[in-house]
Structures are given as structure tokens and as C-alpha cells.
């Protein structure tokens, strides 16, 4: 179970996350939705103890992220949106490295690695080094790294990004399996169809605040929409989404410009 209590994060004068409070139960898939820059990733990073909150707190399986960071890390697996791999380590070595850092070793760890390689369909590249992996292959390895210690709570940030149709179905089946196994899953994605299919409840986040919470059906009914995507646009506001898209495009152009300069 993951629970947040008025969680907030401030970067100098910018308030990235403001008083976010929600509760994701064990055996539940909880969706965190919002446009780019809404504060979703910052919230997830605080839950994973990568960032510390400016105020408020959260618990993961009852452990406080502020005071029991190591216990939180042991009970949580996180698939980071932009995570990469080491160039000269194989898929198997990546999984073993993270497993070792979680205190696992021996035949138990090797069995778990074999299991993940099979479940995530990584057999073809299990013993290849990470250099030259496709985006989809990288996502699979990183997902394996998030799951290697068999955590009861799982955070998935854009888990199907860059995956082909078959791999996407595998990941979705895996999320359903996590739910069936009684794990708590927080899913952050832009694919509304995926949210509708997988999430039991969702929270709509915009500019660091939760604007709405409920099941997808409740939100669709409340905003008299045909689907969750329409309800989402209603909640955030079409103008706000356009502005966000424009800001995002400008940011990307700026990044490309500075990339060319470097």
C-alpha cells in the first residue's frame, strides 16, 4: 500500500508538487494522470526516495519515506521513464547488479533473473551487452531491474513507451498479474486507453495539484464524457493542455538547440 499525506516539493521558488494526498491499496492499480510538467514524475521520485519532500510525507507498506528510506526502497520497485543501461554489461548482469544491491544473491537470485528474462521475453538478448539496445529492449531490462527484488509495491512511469505491440500486451498482462498477486501498482501514462483498461482508480494531476480522483467510470460520468480522454481534457481544460503542449514544444526546441551547440 502506498499513501501520501499533503506531499509537497518546492524547487527554489517553483512549487512542483502541492499538497498531494492519495492512497493506493494493495491489489489495486492506481493511475496518476496529467500533462507534461504536472508534477507526476516528481511525486513518483519522492515516493521512491530519490527526492525528499519539502513538506508532508508518504508511506510505502507502512514505512515512512522521510525516516525509513532503506525499508521503503526494499519494498518498492520503480520503472523510471527515462532510465538507461550500462554500455558494457549484459541484460543478465544488469539484473544481477541491482539484485545484489538489494541484498540478493546465490541461486535464488539466479532463478529470479531467469524468471524475469522469460516473463519479459528477453531471452534473445539476455547475454548481450547493453550497447546498441533498442528503446524497447532498454525498457524491458529496466523493468526487470525494477522487479528483480520482487517488491510488493510497483511504480511504473510510462511502462509501454517505445515497446512494440507484442511487448505492450506482455507488459499490460504483467500489470494485471501484479494486481492479481495483491501488489500495489501506481501507473503513470499518457495513454488513456491503457488507463481505462488497467486502472481501478485514477488521480488527475495538474500544476502539482490533484484536481480529481475516482474510478475512470466515475470521472467519465461526472464530466458526461464519452471516454476518459474527453473527461481528462474537460478536467484540465483544453486551453491549458494547448499551453502545456506549446511549452513542451518550446522546451524540446531549446534542448535540440543546446544539443547542437554542444
Amino acid at each position: 500500500m502506498i499513501e501520501t499525506f499533503q506531499l509537497a516539493k518546492r524547487f527554489k521558488k517553483f512549487e512542483a508538487v502541492k499538497d498531494v494526498t492519495f492512497r493506493a491499496e494493495a491489489g489495486e492499480v492506481f493511475g496518476l494522470l496529467g500533462p507534461n510538467g504536472a508534477g507526476k514524475t516528481t511525486t513518483l521520485r519522492m515516493l521512491a526516495t530519490v527526492l525528499s519532500p519539502s513538506s508532508g510525507t508518504a508511506t510505502v507498506s507502512g514505512y515512512d519515506i522521510r525516516t525509513q528510506a532503506n525499508a521503503v526502497r526494499a519494498h518498492l520497485g520503480i520503472l523510471v521513464e527515462s532510465a538507461g543501461l550500462y554500455s558494457h554489461s549484459t541484460t543478465r548482469e544488469h539484473l544481477r547488479y541491482v539484485g545484489n544491491l538489494h541484498g540478493l544473491n546465490g541461486s535464488g537470485l539466479e532463478r529470479r533473473i531467469d524468471e524475469l528474462i522469460e516473463v519479459l521475453d528477453m531471452g534473445d538478448f539476455a547475454d548481450r551487452i547493453g550497447q546498441g539496445f533498442s528503446r524497447g529492449m532498454i525498457r524491458k531490462v529496466v523493468m526487470g531491474m525494477a522487479l528483480v527484488h520482487d517488491p510488493p509495491n510497483i511504480i511504473l512511469d510510462e511502462p509501454t513507451q517505445g515497446l512494440d505491440v507484442v511487448s505492450t500486451r506482455t507488459v499490460r498482462d504483467l500489470i494485471r498479474q501484479f494486481k492479481a498477486e495483491g501488489r500495489c501498482v501506481i501507473l503513470s501514462t499518457h495513454i488513456m486507453d491503457e488507463v481505462e483498461r488497467l486502472c481501478d482508480r485514477v488521480a488527475i494531476v495538474h500544476r502539482g495539484e490533484i484536481l480529481e480522483k475516482g474510478t475512470p467510470q466515475e470521472l467519465i460520468a461526472k464530466y458526461q464524457a464519452d471516454n476518459l480522454e474527453t473527461a481528462f481534457v474537460e478536467i484540465i481544460g483544453a486551453e491549458a493542455l494547448l499551453n502545456e503542449a506549446q511549452r513542451e514544444a518550446e522546451r524540446e526546441a531549446q534542448q535540440q538547440k543546446s544539443g547542437r551547440r554542444s
Binding site: 527526492l51 523510471v80 554500455s87 548482469e93
Partner: protein
């Protein structure tokens, strides 16, 4: 999980990554292996060419040699010169077809010599190549010897001898300093043998520069800011692994690589130093067996074991300190650009400050100087090579150097543990 276990896990992983990374290995080890090899090959090639020509004799053409019979005879008796016959006053013959140097003797040469005046001869060459320069130097040296003969005759005819021209004779020697490391005193008169010379002192800047430019520093960047660049750092941060263990594991791999590279440079420096000290003996000897050559080199190396040991205990804390500072900065840097900026500053600043320290500080400095971070070690190594480093100075430097190394590791671990450094550059 214990710090020691995290340390071993990270150490093994970083070592594996390094050993598989051919590009990093090349940049680490290529400069100390390839550069001296290339220099040696170039030296051997030039030396063999020069030796071959010296054995055959440099071809010299003398125009109107009959006007200076004494000088001509001196040239004829010289093994390193080969006199080329020139047909008299034939404008179609180019003397440089066969000769590297042309000497033109004036009409009044012998009259001027006999009258006790200065005779002027012209020495001409066609090009400025190394061989021509060597030929010119050889011709000038023979002229110098003939000039000595003429001078001696003039002194005798004036009722003077050679000592009249050299009223002072200087006898050089080195006074042994008590309780120093790397000194061979010959005992009786308290004089020291020639220890490693100035040549060896340039190997510290070379070694440090090599470490920085040749990949050692790049390795630190790769293991710290590289984690941000590859976006692997978050996978590391979400594990319960001790941050200090991670830093120590990474630092250890970089340390071993740095020590390996610097040791190569140092060994080459010591070998070259022994060669430079032994070269007069080696050149004077008529013929030497390989065993005799090695014996001369070993004797010329001075107290090599003591020197190497002292060098190791001086340089180990020094390397750890530099690596720790670099790691602290790299851990804070948001990306390679930021880290590279600091690296460029180090690449320019460190060798420059080492050279300034070696050549500008006085030969004898007070003991507290050996405790100054960075500079103290440079001065200590300088003094070690010039055989003036006292045991007290060595102890001061090693103890303070170890303290600074521990502080630098602490700084790196502290920065690596801070959210403001680790999250800079996260996407």
C-alpha cells in the same frame, strides 16, 4: 546492507565495465606505452643514422686546401671527417654533390696565422637538415682542435703556458644531506654520488598530465556524471545500497587504474634517468656485454628500491586526493559539459602548477611546506629526485597527504549523498 558488501558489488561491476571498455583502456594505457616507444624508436633511428655517417665520416670539401696545410692535415687525421677531392677552379663542379660542408680557405690564411692575427675561413652548407648540422658541428670541433694547437704554439713562443690562460679550475661535487632518502653517499669526504637528475623531475608533470588527459580523469567522469548521462543513476538510487559504499567502490577502480598508469610513467622515468646518468660511462666504454651494460645501469639508478618505495607512499595519497576532488565535482555536475569544464581547468592548471612548484620554489623549504595540500607532495617528489628529501619531511607529507585523501573521499561521499547534487541533470 553493509557498506563493505555494497563496496564489493560496485567495485566488481565498475571493474568489469572498465575491462570491457576498449576505448577507455586505450586512452588510459596508450600514452605511457606508445609515446616512450615512439620516442625510443625515433631516437634509435636518428642515433643509428648519425652513427653510420660518423663511422663513414662526414663528407667535407675544402676549397684551396693547399693554403692551410696544417688544418688540412688535422682534417685528414680525423676519423669522423671524410675529405672530398675537389678539382681546382672548375666552375662546373658542384662541391655539394658529394660534400655536406664546404670550407673556403682565403689567400692570406697562413700569413695571418703566422703573423699572430685572426684568419677568417668560410664554412658553407646547402641545407639545414639534422645530418648537415651534425657534420657542421664535427667540422667546427676539428677546427677548434687545430685552433688549440695554434694557440698553444703562440703561448709557447710568447714564453707562456696553458695554465696562464686558465687561472681558476672548478671541481664540482655534491654534499650529502643527512637523513635523506634516495642518496648514495660515498662516505669519506661526505660527498654524494650523482642521484637522479632534473630529467626525472619532469616525469611527475608528465605522469599527472597523462593521467588527466589520457583517461584517468575521464574514468571518474564516466563513473559519476556518466551515470546521469546514461540515466542509470536513478536505478542505483532506488536501491537500499549505501551511498558511501558506492563512492568507495567507484573510487577504488579509478584508483587502481590511476596507479597503474602513473606507475608506468614513473618506471619509464626511472629507466630514462638511469640511462641519462649512465650514458657517459656507456659511451666511453669500448665494448660492453649486456651484463656489463645492465650492471652500469643498475649502479647508475642509485637507491632505486628506496626511491620507488618513497615515491609510492608519496603518490598514493596524492592520487586518492585528486580522484576524490574530481569525483566530488563530477557527482555534482549536471552533465558531461559541466564536468568537462572542471576537467579542462584541472588539465591546464595542475601541470602548470606542478612545473611552477618544481622550478620556482627554493631548493630548501621549511618543513610546514611539506604539509601544504597538493604543493607539499610536489615539493617532496622534487626533493626525492634531487636526493634532498629528509625523512621528517617525508613523514609530514605522507601523514598530511593521507589526511587530505581521507577528506577528499569524505567530500566525494558527502556530495554523492546529497539530493542537490544527485538530482542535477535528471530528466
Amino acid at each position: 546492507m553493509s557498506l563493505r558488501r555494497v563496496y564489493w558489488i560496485v567495485l566488481r561491476k565498475e571493474l568489469r565495465e572498465l575491462l570491457r571498455d576498449k576505448r577507455s583502456l586505450f586512452w588510459l594505457f596508450a600514452p605511457p606505452i606508445i609515446l616512450p616507444g615512439l620516442a625510443l624508436c625515433a631516437g634509435l633511428f636518428i642515433g643509428s643514422q648519425a652513427l653510420r655517417i660518423a663511422n663513414d665520416g662526414f663528407p667535407l670539401a675544402v676549397q684551396h686546401g693547399e693554403r692551410a696545410p696544417g688544418l688540412l692535415e688535422t682534417f685528414a687525421n680525423e676519423d669522423s671527417i671524410y675529405l672530398v677531392d675537389l678539382p681546382p677552379d672548375d666552375p662546373d663542379v658542384d662541391p655539394f654533390d658529394e660534400a655536406l660542408v664546404l670550407l673556403v680557405i682565403p689567400d692570406d690564411f697562413q700569413q695571418m696565422i703566422d703573423a699572430g692575427n685572426t684568419a677568417t675561413i668560410r664554412l658553407l652548407t646547402r641545407d639545414n637538415s639534422l645530418i648537415t648540422q651534425l657534420a657542421k658541428a664535427s667540422v667546427r670541433s676539428v677546427i677548434g682542435r687545430y685552433q688549440d694547437q695554434v694557440l698553444e704554439q703562440r703561448l709557447i713562443s710568447a714564453g707562456l703556458d696553458r695554465d696562464w690562460l686558465d687561472p681558476i679550475e672548478v671541481n664540482e661535487g655534491r654534499q650529502a644531506v643527512a637523513n635523506t632518502i634516495g642518496v648514495n653517499s660515498n662516505g669519506a669526504d661526505g660527498e654524494a654520488d650523482d642521484g637522479p637528475g632534473l630529467l626525472a623531475t619532469i616525469f611527475l608533470p608528465l605522469a599527472v598530465t597523462s593521467w588527466m588527459i589520457g583517461g584517468g580523469m575521464g574514468l571518474i567522469l564516466d563513473t559519476t556524471v556518466g551515470e546521469k548521462d546514461r540515466q542509470t543513476i536513478e536505478n542505483l538510487l532506488v536501491t537500499p545500497a549505501s551511498r558511501a559504499g558506492i563512492v568507495l567502490g567507484k573510487l577504488t577502480v579509478v584508483f587502481f587504474a590511476s596507479v597503474a598508469v602513473m606507475s608506468l610513467w614513473m618506471l619509464e622515468g626511472l629507466a630514462l634517468n638511469a640511462l641519462s646518468v649512465a650514458s657517459p660511462q656507456l659511451l666511453d666504454a669500448e665494448s660492453l656485454t649486456p651484463t656489463e651494460t645492465l650492471d652500469i645501469l643498475a649502479k647508475s639508478s642509485g637507491n632505486v628500491v628506496g626511491l620507488v618505495l618513497a615515491l609510492i607512499i608519496l603518490i598514493v595519497p596524492f592520487i586518492i586526493m585528486l580522484n576524490g576532488i574530481m569525483m566530488a565535482w563530477s557527482a555534482r555536475a549536471a552533465n558531461y559539459r559541466e564536468a568537462n569544464l572542471f576537467m579542462v581547468l584541472m588539465q591546464l592548471g595542475l601541470p602548470a602548477s606542478i612545473l611552477i612548484t618544481i622550478f620556482s620554489l627554493p631548493a630548501t623549504v621549511s618543513l610546514p611546506v611539506y604539509g601544504v595540500p597538493f604543493f607539499g607532495t610536489i615539493v617532496a617528489i622534487r626533493d626525492l629526485f634531487s636526493s634532498t628529501l629528509s625523512t621528517t619531511a617525508l613523514l609530514i607529507n605522507v601523514s598530511t597527504g593521507s589526511l587530505y585523501a581521507a577528506l577528499a573521499i569524505g567530500l566525494a561521499a558527502w556530495v554523492f549523498n546529497k539530493e542537490w547534487s544527485l538530482t542535477r541533470g535528471l530528466q
